[in-house]
Symmetry: C2
């Protein structure tokens, strides 16, 4: 049962997406895409010609429009809030810049106990009210057509950005902090986890009907480090949000050796990237959880017959079992042909194997 405090009754009891999160039978496999709003869409590029990413998220009307673009253009079964996982760290005191062509840069990365001590608390209403307003606007405009997914970065992935000062290849600063100053690491993760949980709960309160926790880079870790340095924090966030009653998707990439622990950490749905066959991943997780995935994002660059084979391969591996949400193994890449994304939505809806 999904109890959303802002709405008097479950708003989309027949939504394929929300039913699949609960492993209930569906008429067709639900499908949405990570980063389904973005540069690959002409509608989005038109908006970006006028506003920077940060300007979009600061304008709820614009952010709502961007959130809804793929719902209108693609026919996906869920909307996902347009935002960035790094937004919560700005009011916490980090100087974030999206540098041209370089990705995010944090000019005052966290490397010491003092840096962690200086990190402020996040007050989602006061600090990120514009995002919560976007959630409300989108919910209103969707009129129950499809559910809205909120999201946040997971403790490890957020920590990796704030410690490295941006994206990373080898996570030298992040792991050095773990290994060399575990007490600082634990303080940092505790602060981030509280902020993330509060932020997600605020999104739920504003109307998000499900949330996804993005632990995109957790696959850089071995299972032992995950157990000690990450799992307790992910668990804390996930259990807080699951207690609100909305379904939670727990996502990562490169997680073949982490999946059993990620499931223990929590989530109604576990994301699978393309490196693990969906059936094998689901078996590793056990049958009592839903799965989301797991097409290689580069499959969207393939000719239609090949793309169709890949899509059908994923559906066959899911075998029509209740609890599969079709998605990519990671976000849509820039320059992805829109018509292929639209084609996948149709393929999934048409070709669903009902078990």
């Amino acid at each position: 049962m999904f109890m959303n405090p802002n709405t008097p009754s479950p708003p989309e009891p027949q939504s394929r997406f929300l039913r699949a999160c609960q492993r209930l039978p569906v008429d067709a496999t639900p499908v949405w895409f990570m980063r389904q709003a973005g540069r690959y869409m002409a509608e989005y590029r038109a908006i970006r010609a006028r506003y920077s990413l940060l300007e979009i998220v600061q304008r709820p009307e614009v952010a709502a429009e961007v959130t809804l673009q793929p719902v209108h253009a693609l026919g996906v079964d869920a909307a996902i809030l347009f935002a960035d996982i790094l937004l919560p760290i700005v009011p916490m005191g980090l100087k974030l810049e999206f540098a041209q062509g370089e990705g995010p840069v944090i000019h005052n990365p966290i490397r010491s106990a003092r840096d962690v001590a200086l990190l402020g608390e996040l007050d989602p209403q006061a600090d990120l009210g514009h995002i919560l307003e976007t959630v409300r606007l989108v919910r209103g405009e969707l009129e129950g057509k499809v559910p809205l997914i909120g999201f946040a970065g997971a403790p490890f992935t957020l920590a990796s950005y704030v410690v490295e000062g941006g994206a990373s290849r080898n996570y030298i600063y992040t792991k050095s902090l773990m290994y060399g100053a575990p007490e600082i690491w634990h303080q940092l993760l505790a602060k981030l986890s509280k902020a993330i949980a509060d932020y997600l709960l605020a999104q739920v309160e504003a109307g998000a009907q499900a949330v996804q926790l993005f632990d995109s880079w957790v696959g850089a870790l071995n299972p032992q480090d995950y157990a000690r340095f990450v799992k307790p924090y992910s668990q804390q966030v996930l259990s807080a949000v699951m207690a609100s009653g909305v379904p939670v998707i727990h996502f990562g990439t490169g997680t073949a050796t982490l999946l059993p622990q990620m499931k223990e950490a929590g989530g109604n749905v576990i994301g699978l990237d393309w490196r693990i066959p969906l059936d094998e991943g689901w078996e590793l997780l056990g049958g009592d959880v839903a799965v989301q995935g797991n097409l290689d994002p580069v499959s969207l660059f393939a000719p239609t017959p090949v793309l169709r084979q890949h899509v059908e391969g994923v559906l066959q591996q899911a075998g029509g079992r209740p609890g599969h949400i079709f998605n990519l193994g990671h976000g849509i890449l820039q320059n992805t042909p829109v018509e292929n994304v639209r084609a996948v939505v149709d393929m999934v809806h048409e070709k669903t194997v009902v078990g």
Copy 2:
């Protein structure tokens, strides 16, 4: 039995490293490091102050000196030829540049059937004679002290560089070629595989006593794509080289879901990165193959007691079974403290659990 055509009898029959490759008992676990010669060493930086990377490999005396630096400084159980996996593609017609701070750039990447048709054949003696001369020089200078490992990039990893035009995050061009023009992909891989096998055999003929095939980026693929687009080519290279009688190490990263197929493709030793516990990886592979790995390269930045725990953890997972070669899960990173690398060699030699 290692039959090296250039040497009348097995030159280091008691070498720990070569014994471990054959899963024979050893007095202590052998240890060497991928990228053990490199910028983290002051001796290497002194040479790089005078020569570029390409200038070093073109001067056998200098390349030999660099190859031997870690043998003298660290006490490792094997030397590995100082070279770069991209060198063979230059005489094949690719315009390679090591751009400052950017890594390798290939100015004429391969994207079409015509590009593949224009790729020349590699004649290792004529084209890479300076590298073979380095092998001979190093063998002479080592005087049987420790064995010399030769190496080459694997067909997929080399292909990913030549198709992308450098390093990549998402392998869009590479996978698009696989999916969209498989006949061109297969032609490319066939040409690369022949060149790689010939190059490795020439290294063996020049005196390399083992070789490692680096499929560093193969973890970007799912098992299905690996089976169809990569495995036959890796197999071709590996079986050609194994027929020469020297042991072959088959290495990749992010390979948790590919390991059984990598073993089928070949190699006396399979490399394991740090994402999979060594015992779990070895079990996946079956007992009839040796393993190499699998310390996280970032562990070398940890304080000594933590580093020691990590090293002992790997040794405990290996459990003293014959056939473990201690190494990192990937290459030594820049700025790694040399004293920590040296400490690991001692820890491994002292703490070996003899099973």
